[in-house]
Symmetry: C2
Amino acid sequence: MVEAEIYKALGDPIRLEIVSRLAGGSPSTIGELSGNLGISRQGARKQLQVLVAANVVHLVPRGRQTRVVLDTETLQLARSFIARLEIQWDRRLEALKEFAESDPGE
Amino acid sequence: MVEAEIYKALGDPIRLEIVSRLAGGSPSTIGELSGNLGISRQGARKQLQVLVAANVVHLVPRGRQTRVVLDTETLQLARSFIARLEIQWDRRLEALKEFAESDPGE
DNA sequence: ACTTTATGCAACCTTTTGGTTGCATTTTGT
DNA sequence: ACAAAATGCAACCAAAAGGTTGCATAAAGT
């Protein structure tokens, strides 16, 4: 269950806020992303590191500052895994429904 | 950032395993789902409770035992949120690309 | 009635998480 | 050369998470 780490990374309001800002087009240096989160810069940096560890974002150093970029592949993986769950579940319900129709009553 | 709680709930190998089993069609009482997870029944139950709190699953009592059912709406919400992030990001890259083409060189 | 099965609940413990502060380091601008 | 800006790193701390064990309870089978 490799995917768990991805969801875990997304499973915090501050980290999700960071990812949202990134996707939304906010300037994407570490410093800028760390502002206005309600916690210290170093605190924000630790949260960012969690996203890095889960491959949700990557850091690319650029001279004095460091850019943060989203990893779309990881997001895609997370999304398609959920999609798969939904499909399986739907198929299952469908099967149960057919069974119920062939055998009415409780 | 309401969605965070959902991802947090999915962000644990055992909980994700439970959800997968559920979607995959395993018999879905609490007892059955709690087996073979490598932890005690009560431990598994606590994990299940996290999924309930995040509305990923619902519990429906049925006499002596309790059925566990997936909440597809919640899964859908989680999936579409990620999809939205991807789309935003893609649009942003597209815009940057156009800008780069109109202003060549570093 | 008694036993078994399926479950609930609470106390407890250890590890992880989320945050802090303080200081060091590396670029960049003057 | 010096100051400021952007960042890194580590120690520390409180709270939350993930697990355990032990016991209580309600429904079902015999």
